[in-house]
Amino acid sequence: MKGFRQARWEEPLIYEVSPDTKEGTLIDYEEFEDYAKRLLLKLPDNVRRRSLDIPSLSEVEVVRHYTKLSQMSYGVDLGPVPLGSCTMKYNPKICEELASDRRIAEAHPYLDEDDVQGLLEIIYTLQKWLSEIVGMDACSIQTPAGAAGEFAGALMIKKFHADSGEGYRDEMIIPDSAHGSNPASAAMAGFKVVKVPADPRGNTDLEALRAALGRRTAGIMLTNPNTLGLFEEQILDIAKEVRGVGGLLYYDGANLNGIIGYVRPGDMGFDVAHLNLHKTFTAPHGGGGPGAGAICAKGALVDYMPIPIVDYDGRKYYLKYDVPKSIGRISWFYGNVVPAVKSFLYIAALGSSIKEVAEVAVLNTNYVLKKVSPLPGVDLVYGHGRWRKHEFVVSFEKLYKETGIGAEDVAKALLDRGIHAPTILFPLIVPEAHMVEVTETESKENLDRLVDAYREIVNLAYANPEEVKKSPRNTSVGRLDTVYGNLPKNVAPAYRFLKEKRTGA
């Protein structure tokens, strides 16, 4: 196979780079040695460190080690990462550069409000813009990630009902195609999760929803567009039904990218929403984080938002703690400010062109879907003939039955072609699923590469499935055994476990 070859350094663990003790950075400590001794002598012996044995390397050794490791990683700057519901869009470099400013990096959270008016203005302005984007009354960026926003939102809904004398509302309705974090967040807030299925068009099944609603309904958590990439056509009916039994509507903003500027969750009838600033608003994902979340609310729910909220009194920006019904602090300080600044810069840079994001994302999604869905072995399952929004889902069940090549094999074969695999085996309602989100930042040439790769792989699956099974071969390591590392006797989440195993200890 020609083309992509990932770096394949045989890089040992940091513990095995060098046995000698060196220094990676100088520490100025000699001048205070006597003072340090005096302090340490005041402590009982058992509180003083007896031994610590981690590697002590020089600067260049550390730099080479981690640079090699970086070459064995793959991100958006190398090529498409079409992970569905993850919105892996390009991260503009100007946002990275400006947000790494020392004036933010060294700003202490306990500086006086008067001293950080610029920072507070950025946060406040971002909150305003996000409120406008989702059509809600207020947003806060205190939630450090999307799931933290979900949890905060679920707590707000819980407290709202409790304050209304309806604390018995303990059921949260969640479609069975929802992100796993939705039921997990609802459960963390003490709700029972009631599942509703999708209908053949890919919408939430309205009949099933009606059957699930009742006096114990606290609310519903929905993504719209949903995880099939489909807009919930009956969203107004859903809102009416839920509200009819006294429930509230929670919007999971993970999929906002496909509708931004076209339609707003607040207008759809949602009361609370979270946004993932690291998805729609281009703060990078950092290999898993840090991201940044926003929690937004409308009407009566505004009073329940976590504290503090950055506010403006006409003269100065300040941290508002006086929110009597607030659920409290969801995290310390004011959220993940650096990624939030990147999102501020992103929105500032685009201005009203932000609508272009949804347009191009939707065009790209449907362009790829149109070319991938007719491929042999590929099925749609839900929503035939409908336009997708931010993402689409295809099933490789047919391919699997006919060739033995399933979604995971196809994913590994994509890696071999220099393209990160989409989200696989999710949503659970689609067998052998690939959930593909190419975002607005891929060029047509890259979309064609993805399509060509899919075509090549399914054709190869029919011609020579064993060949597909050999993937990945061009990555820094071959296919990893997900069973081996999870067997209780093999579980090794730290160097010590490997060392003990090796020495038979």
Binding site: I14, Y35, R49, P55, A107, P290, A348, A494
Partner: protein
């Protein structure tokens, strides 16, 4: 209007032709018409901005920040200004890392998974625990998750925490716990030492039989909780877990909490490579000492482990024990966390590799020495220690009737101390924190003390 960040915004017509639509609105034909926004969003500054315009805008906003450190700030309260080595920033700036996603496809992410495995290993060594996860959001979330972990493991619901735990951490623990019936009970501090009141703790723990006892050391007042072994005995006698919050920067001089009896150790990476960032992002650290394997299955968050290739030829790293997590276990997951703070964990791994055991010992001594020197100078300049009998490390709580004015005066000279702690502890309204780290020189501390002397001298004459 097309934009350089969206290549296909320049060929929309071409794509529309491919799809056979004549209007973009056709692609939104499933959205109820009354929901379609008929105007542009009022965001940004109207037109798109050029890079240069954006830079100017940003700088204008930054100039509205009035703070100007003449000396490295002496601000504390959980996060202090530590130096972030250029090497750390360089590695974190590698876009193979920062533009990557969670390693769902580990074969193409071995560098990232190895770096996270190293983070887990290094911090486990620092804390004296068996397993550290691949990160939580920050120290406050780590503490809240630790409490919920203890509740699941022990199947008990009250928890006890020291009043000298960072008040914002305590608030976060309450927010995450109380709505689901976990009661948070606070044990006071000793007025002379600033340490947790052991008698009160013992009584409370006996009475409540809590899921966990949570203490922070050094605590919010900067005082080392030197009775950890005794606290551990009290907790364990009642079958409770001990959760210790400790900043990893002290690992070179303070005994590992895991070795002193902690079952769960939590902390934050601010001091070890993240920086302060106006409070975030950092990574939350969560580790468990788990000799009986009781805690592992209840661990929240991502965990990287070693495995082999399917042909058994090579080794590699993958996310393990994912059946605990939300994307598999859904409402029965140990946590809802998905996006975490991986890049901050990588930064911590780089930082700790640069320092090593020796560097950590030296930085610990650098902090200890400066703390002792600071106390000597500021006491002689006329401030009082709030807790005379406590041993302080890095942060010190000073008392003076005019502490607020003093803080304001120092600010006019570009010298920052704080926070004042009265908003958290009404009984300590005349007290404020002062923090020293390895970045402060002897001259910096001398300057601070002579300014304090000048202020107090002026006031008494």
């Amino acid at each position: 209007m097309p934009h350089p960040w969206m290549p296909n915004s320049y060929i929309k017509e071409k794509l529309m032709k491919e799809l056979g639509v004549s209007s973009l609105l056709e692609l939104f034909n499933d959205v109820p018409e009354e929901l379609l926004l008929s105007r542009n969003l009022r965001v940004g500054y109207g037109r798109p901005l050029t890079e240069y315009q954006l830079t100017r805008l940003f700088n204008e906003l930054m100039e509205k920040n009035a703070y100007a450190y003449k000396l490295p700030p002496f601000l504390g309260g959980g996060v202090c200004l530590h130096h972030v080595p250029a090497t750390v920033k360089h590695v974190a700036g590698r876009s193979e890392f920062y533009t990557a996603y969670t390693p769902y496809q580990p074969e193409v992410a071995q560098g990232l998974t190895q770096a996270l495995f190293e983070y887990q290993s290094l911090v486990a060594d620092l804390y004296g625990v068996d397993v550290v996860n691949a990160s939580m959001y920050n120290g406050s979330a780590a503490a809240a998750e630790a409490v919920r972990l203890a509740v699941r493991v022990t199947r008990r619901s009250p928890v006890v925490l020291s009043r000298s735990t960072h008040p914002e951490i305590a608030d976060v623990v309450r927010t995450w716990s109380e709505p689901v019936g976990i009661t948070v009970n606070v044990v006071g501090y000793d007025g002379e030492t600033g340490r947790i009141d052991l008698g009160e703790l013992e009584d409370r723990v006996r009475k409540l039989q809590p899921a966990a006892v949570l203490v922070q050391t050094p605590n919010f007042f900067g005082v080392i909780e030197q009775d950890l072994a005794e606290i551990s005995r009290i907790a364990h006698d009642s079958g409770s877990l001990l959760i210790v919050y400790e900043d990893p920067i002290f690992a070179g001089i303070l005994e590992a909490p895991g070795s002193l009896g902690a079952d769960v150790v939590v902390g934050d990476t601010s001091s070890v490579g993240s920086g302060i960032n106006f409070g975030g992002p950092t990574a939350g650290i969560l580790g468990i000492r788990d000799p009986e394997g009781r805690l592992l299955r209840q661990l929240p968050g991502r965990l990287i482990g070693y495995t082999k290739t399917v042909d058994g030829e090579e080794g590699g790293y993958i996310m393990i024990l994912q059946t605990r997590e939300q994307h598999i276990r859904r409402e029965r997951a140990t946590s809802n966390i998905t996006t975490n703070s991986s890049l901050e964990a990588v930064r911590a791994a780089v930082y700790l590799s640069l320092l090593g055991s020796e560097g950590l010992r030296k930085i610990g001594e650098a902090l200890a020495g400066r703390t002792e020197f600071l106390i000597e100078r500021l006491v002689s300049a006329g401030l009082e220690l709030a807790f005379e009998k406590g041993v302080h490390l890095r942060e010190v709580l000073f008392r003076h009737p005019r502490i607020g004015e003093l803080r304001g005066f120092l600010k006019t000279r570009g010298v920052y101390i704080g926070p004042l702690v009265g908003r958290f502890y009404p009984e300590l309204r005349d007290c404020g924190l002062v923090c020293v780290t390895e970045v402060h020189s002897r001259e910096d501390i001398e300057t601070l003390s002579s300014l304090v002397r000048e202020f107090l001298g002026v006031s008494t004459s």
